[in-house]
C-alpha cells in the first residue's frame, strides 16, 4: 500500500510504476475558514503525498466539505494557504483545477442536460487551447483538438466503465453511474490530486466495491486521491492514511489501523450520529466497541435507510 508512482503521464493507458520515494504533493498550511462567528475549519494542516489515497473522516458538521472547498478554491480561506508542488494555489476554483486538483461533489453536480460524453468533454476545457477565432473559422487547431477531446473523453468514460453511455443524457443515468461519470469528468482534467466527496454515498455494496476498485486503479495512474467518506469499512480498507477531522480541527492522523483504534476518534463518534462500521477488519479492538451505545446500530436491518440496511447485511455476511 505504499506504492508511489511517478511520471507525467496521467493517462489511463499508462502503466502503474512503483518505487519512487514518497513526496509531498499538496500541503495545506493552517487553513482556517470562518463564516461570521462560526469557525468551520480551524488551523488545519495536512500533507498529501504523491499517489497516495488519503481518507478524511469525521462526524457530520466536522468541516470536511468546507475543507474541500477551501482546497479547491471555492471558499477563499480566512487564513492559511494551500500549496501544490510548492506553489501556492490561488483561491480560484478554475485555477486550482488547471493546476491539477479536481473534485467531485457530495450532491452530484453533473451538467444534467448534456450527454455523458459532453460532460467529460467540458473538463477538457482547460487542457485545450482553441480560441474563438479557431472555432469560428474551423481552423486546423480546432479540428484537431475537437477530435482529440472527443477521443480522450471517450477513453475516460471507458476507464470508469461507462463506455456505453456516450450519448445518453447524464440525467438519465442510474445513480451509481452518475457518481462514476462525475469521477470520469474529474479525471479528464488530468489532475495530480483527485478529491472525492462521499463517492459511495447512496451506493449498493456491489457499486461500493466497484468504486473501491476504481479508486485503486486511479491511484495506479499516479493520481493522489483524497476521499471523504462515512463508510468506515470503505475508508479503512482503501486508504493509505486517514485523517479524522472533528469540529474543524485535525484530531488524529495516521494509518487506518492507528486511527481505527484511537480512543479519541471513538469518543468523537459517540456524539456523532453517522453510521459506524459494524465489521471492521480488526474486530478485537476497534470502533465496533461502540456498537451498543450507538443508536444508529440499534435500528433494525431494514430500517428507513435502505442503503444502510444493505450495507449492514453485507457486513453480516462478511462476518
Amino acid at each position: 500500500m505504499t506504492a508511489h508512482a511517478h511520471g507525467a503521464s496521467a493517462h489511463p493507458a499508462a502503466g502503474r510504476e512503483t518505487g519512487a520515494p514518497a513526496s509531498g504533493l499538496l500541503q495545506a498550511r493552517d487553513v482556517t475558514m470562518q463564516f461570521g462567528g462560526l469557525t468551520a475549519v480551524n488551523q488545519v494542516s495536512l500533507d498529501i503525498h504523491r499517489g497516495e489515497i488519503l481518507g478524511l473522516i469525521g462526524p457530520n458538521g466536522a468541516g470536511k466539505t468546507t475543507f474541500f472547498n477551501c482546497l479547491t478554491g471555492m471558499y477563499p480561506p480566512t487564513s492559511g494557504s494551500v500549496l501544490l508542488d510548492g506553489q501556492v494555489l490561488p483561491p480560484k476554483p478554475r485555477k486550482v483545477a488547471a493546476a491539477g486538483v479536481s473534485r467531485t461533489f457530495q450532491n452530484i453536480r453533473l451538467f444534467h442536460n448534456m450527454t455523458a460524453l459532453e460532460n467529460v468533454m467540458v473538463a477538457r476545457y482547460c487542457r485545450t487551447r482553441t480560441n474563438a477565432l479557431d472555432a469560428i473559422f474551423r481552423l486546423p487547431r480546432h479540428r484537431r483538438e475537437e477530435v482529440e477531446t472527443r477521443e480522450v473523453s471517450q477513453r475516460w468514460l471507458e476507464f470508469v466503465g461507462l463506455g456505453h453511455t456516450t450519448d445518453l443524457l447524464s440525467r438519465n443515468l442510474p445513480y451509481g453511474d452518475q457518481r462514476r461519470l462525475e469521477i470520469a469528468r474529474a479525471l479528464a482534467l488530468e489532475p495530480k490530486l483527485l478529491l472525492l466527496d462521499e463517492p459511495t454515498a447512496g451506493m449498493n455494496p456491489q457499486e461500493t466495491r466497484e468504486a473501491e476498485e476504481l479508486i485503486q486503479r486511479i491511484r495506479g495512474l499516479d493520481i493522489a486521491v483524497l476521499v471523504i467518506e462515512h463508510d468506515m469499512r470503505f475508508i479503512f480498507s482503501l486508504c493509505d492514511r486517514v485523517v479524522c477531522l472533528v469540529r474543524g480541527e485535525v484530531l488524529v492522523e495516521g494509518t487506518p489501523a492507528e486511527v481505527q483504534h484511537d480512543p479519541r476518534v471513538i469518543e468523537a463518534y459517540i456524539g456523532g450520529s453517522v453510521d459506524l462500521p459494524n465489521a471492521a477488519p480488526a474486530p478485537e479492538a476497534s470502533l465496533a466497541h461502540l456498537q451498543p451505545s450507538n443508536p444508529v446500530l440499534e435500528m433494525p436491518p431494514n430500517a428507513a435507510n435502505p442503503i444502510l440496511g444493505a450495507r449492514r447485511r453485507r457486513g453480516d455476511h462478511d462476518a
Partner: protein, 587 residues
C-alpha cells in the same frame, strides 16, 4: 397534454367516422368551385369554377386530408417499421381536418369582417364550413396511434436533399406569395394556412424526417437556405416595398442572433442589448460622409464595420467586466440600466450637455448610400430584366452579415467554448470547478454578441439613412429578447422565425397595431407558461424548461444518438483515419 378519456371511447366508431370525414372532404373539394362571398373580400372569392389562391390553398389541404383518410384506412400499422407506423396517417387526417376547420373559419370570419357581415357570405363558404366541420368531427373517432417514427428512417441522400430543397421552395413560395398580399384578412388567412400546413406535416411525421434529414445534410440545408434567401428579391417584380420590410427583418434577426449567443448559449439575460446595435449605428453614422457627421474622418465601409463592431465590443467589455460577476437576475437589471445610460448619453452628447458627438436627439441624418467599387447601393440595378432596388441591394448585404453571424454562432456553439457556455448555464460553480473559465467565457459571449450587434448596426445606419437615439429604447431590447424566446433560445431557425413574426406581423396587420404591445406582453406570459422553450426549441433548452419530463428526455437522447450517427459518418468520410492518427500524435 393528456387526451380526455371520453375521446378514446369514440374510437369504436372509427369506421363510420371515417365515412363522415370522407363526406366532409367531398364537400370541401366541391366548395372552392362555388363563390364564397357576395362581394370581393380577401383575394376575391366571388367566382364560379375559378378558385381564388386562398381557395386553392384550402383545396391542397383537402387533398392531403383525403390522402391521409384513404391511406390511413388502407395501410395498417403492422410491425414497428411498417409504413403505418412511420407515417401516422390517422394523426395526419386528424390534423388536416382540424387545420381545415381553422383555416375555413378564419377565411370566413375575415371575409365577414371586411364585408358587411355574415350575410355577405355565399353558399360556397357555408358549404366549406359544413364540410370542414363534418371532416373534423369524423376524424375525432380515428385512433390516434403512436407518434410517427419517420424521423428514425434512414433514407438515401438524394431523397433527403430533395426533401430539404422542396421544403425550402415551400418557404420561398410562402414568403413571396404572403408578402404580396396587401389585404390584412388575406394575409392573415394565408399565414394561418402556412402554419397549419407545417403542423400537419409535423403530425404525419414528415417534419421529424425533415429535421433528421436537415441534421444529416447540414451543408445542403445551409446552402439551399441561402440560395432561397438570395433569390427572394427576384420574386418581387422590381418592387422595393417588401424588400424594405425584409431588410428590417434581417437587421432585427441579425441583432437577435447576436443576442442569442448571450442569452441562448451562455444563459445571460441582457435587457439592454439594443444599445450595442445603437453603438454600431452611431459609430457608422459618425464616421460616414454625412454632412451631419461630427468626426471629419470617413474611412472605407469595411473599416467602419470593423470599428463599429469593436466599439460595441468595447462597450460590452466595459459593462461586462464589472457586472458579469453578479448573479443572473442582477445582470438583467444592470444591462437594462446600461441600455438606459446609453440612450440618455446619446441624447446628451450634443454639445451642450457633453461633447458634440451624436447631435443629441436630432441624431445624424442624411447618411449616404454605400458604394462598393462603383456599385451604388442607393440606385436600382437591372439583373435578368428584373429591377433590383435600393433595399434589395441592402438586403443582400445584410444577408452576408447574417451569414457571418450565423457562422459565428454555430461554430462557436459546436466548440469547446460552446460546451463551456452550456456548462455555465447548467451549473456555473461546477463548471468552474471543472476548470472552465466561467468569467472569461461569459465576457466573451457578452463582447462577441456586442461585436455582432455593432456590425449589424453599422449597416443599419446606412439602410435607415438617419440614426437617432429614440430608436434604441428599452422596448426594442425587450422585443429582441422576445424574438429569441418566441422562436426558441439557442437555435438559428428559432431566431429567424421569431424575428420574422415580430417584425412582419405588425407591418402586415396594421389594423391590429394599437393592440400590438398588449398582445406582445400577453404572448410573453403565455409562452413562458405553456411553451417556454419557444416554437423551434433547442433540444437541451427544451429539457431545461421541462425538468421533470422523462419521456421527453428519452426522446431527445434518441435524437442525439441519431444525429451523432450522422455526424460520425460525416466525420469519417471527411477525415479518413483521422481518429487513428490523432491517437498517436497527441499522447
Amino acid at each position: 397534454m393528456n387526451r380526455p378519456a371520453f375521446l378514446a371511447s369514440f374510437e369504436r366508431f372509427a369506421a363510420p367516422g371515417r365515412l363522415v370525414a370522407l363526406v366532409g372532404t367531398a364537400l370541401l373539394l366541391a366548395a372552392p368551385m362555388l363563390p364564397w362571398a357576395y362581394r370581393p373580400a380577401l383575394d376575391d372569392m366571388t367566382f364560379w369554377f375559378a378558385p381564388s389562391p386562398l381557395q386553392w390553398c384550402g383545396l391542397a389541404l383537402t387533398v392531403v386530408l383525403l390522402a391521409c383518410l384513404v391511406l390511413g384506412w388502407v395501410v395498417r400499422p403492422q410491425g414497428r417499421r411498417s409504413l403505418g407506423r412511420r407515417l401516422n396517417f390517422n394523426r395526419g387526417a386528424r390534423a388536416a381536418a382540424i387545420a381545415l376547420l381553422a383555416f375555413v373559419a378564419v377565411v370566413l370570419v375575415a371575409s365577414a369582417l371586411e364585408l358587411a357581415g355574415l350575410v355577405a357570405l355565399e353558399p360556397g363558404g357555408w358549404l366549406a364550413l359544413a364540410g370542414a366541420m363534418l371532416a373534423a368531427s369524423g376524424v375525432l373517432t380515428l385512433p390516434r396511434g403512436e407518434e410517427p417514427t419517420l424521423r428514425t428512417l434512414r433514407s438515401p441522400a438524394w431523397l433527403q436533399i430533395l426533401g430539404i430543397v422542396l421544403a425550402l421552395a415551400f418557404v420561398l413560395f410562402v414568403a413571396a406569395y404572403g408578402l404580396d398580399l396587401d389585404d390584412p384578412g388575406a394575409f392573415f388567412s394565408f399565414g394561418v394556412w402556412a402554419g397549419v400546413v407545417v403542423w400537419v406535416a409535423a403530425q404525419v411525421g414528415l417534419l421529424g424526417w425533415l429535421s433528421t434529414a436537415a441534421g444529416q445534410n447540414r451543408s445542403v440545408l445551409v446552402l439551399s437556405a441561402f440560395v432561397v434567401a438570395f433569390v427572394f428579391p427576384f420574386t418581387q417584380n422590381g418592387s422595393d416595398a417588401n424588400m424594405s420590410i425584409a431588410a428590417g427583418v434581417l437587421i432585427f434577426a441579425a441583432t437577435a442572433m447576436g443576442l442569442n449567443i448571450v442569452v441562448g448559449l451562455a444563459g445571460l439575460l441582457d435587457l439592454g442589448y439594443i444599445a450595442f446595435l445603437g453603438a454600431g449605428a452611431f459609430t457608422a453614422a459618425v464616421l460616414s460622409e454625412s454632412a451631419f457627421a461630427t468626426i471629419g474622418w470617413s474611412p472605407p465601409f469595411p473599416i467602419v464595420v470593423l470599428i463599429s463592431g469593436c466599439v460595441s465590443a468595447l462597450l460590452g467589455l466595459l459593462i461586462g467586466s464589472p457586472t458579469l460577476r453578479v448573479s443572473g437576475d442582477y445582470l438583467a437589471i444592470v444591462t437594462l440600466a446600461f441600455g438606459e445610460i446609453f440612450r440618455i448619453s446619446m441624447n446628451n452628447l450634443d454639445g451642450t450637455d457633453g461633447p458634440n458627438l451624436t447631435r443629441g436627439s436630432n441624431g445624424i441624418p442624411a447618411i449616404p448610400n454605400l458604394d462598393f467599387f462603383g456599385f451604388d447601393f442607393g440606385s436600382p440595378h437591372d439583373i435578368f430584366g428584373i429591377t433590383i432596388g435600393r433595399f434589395a441591394n441592402y438586403y443582400w448585404l445584410l444577408l452576408l452579415v447574417m451569414g457571418l453571424i450565423i457562422l459565428v454562432f454555430t461554430n462557436l456553439n459546436r466548440s469547446r467554448i460552446g460546451r463551456g457556455w452550456v456548462a455555465i448555464r447548467e451549473d456555473e460553480r461546477a463548471a468552474e470547478a471543472m476548470g472552465v473559465n466561467t468569467f472569461g467565457l461569459k465576457l466573451l459571449a457578452f463582447a462577441g454578441g456586442a461585436f455582432l450587434a455593432g456590425v449589424a448596426g453599422s449597416v443599419k445606419a446606412h439602410v435607415d439613412v438617419s440614426v437617432t437615439p429614440d430608436q434604441y429604447i428599452f422596448l426594442e431590447s425587450a422585443f429582441l429578447v422576445a424574438g429569441i424566446v418566441l422562436g426558441g433560445m439557442g437555435t438559428v431557425g428559432g431566431v429567424l422565425v421569431g424575428a420574422t413574426v415580430l417584425k412582419l406581423l405588425p407591418e402586415k396587420l396594421r389594423f391590429f397595431e394599437d393592440y400590438r404591445l398588449l398582445t406582445f406582453g400577453l404572448l410573453l406570459v403565455v409562452m413562458m407558461r405553456f411553451r417556454p422553450e419557444g416554437l423551434m426549441p433547442d433540444e437541451r433548452r427544451q429539457l431545461e424548461f421541462h425538468d421533470d419530463d422523462e419521456e421527453l428526455a428519452d426522446e431527445v437522447a434518441d435524437d442525439v444518438a441519431a444525429h451523432r450517427v450522422g455526424s460520425v459518418v460525416e466525420g469519417t468520410s471527411a477525415e479518413p483515419g483521422s481518429g487513428a492518427t490523432a491517437k498517436g500524435d497527441h499522447r
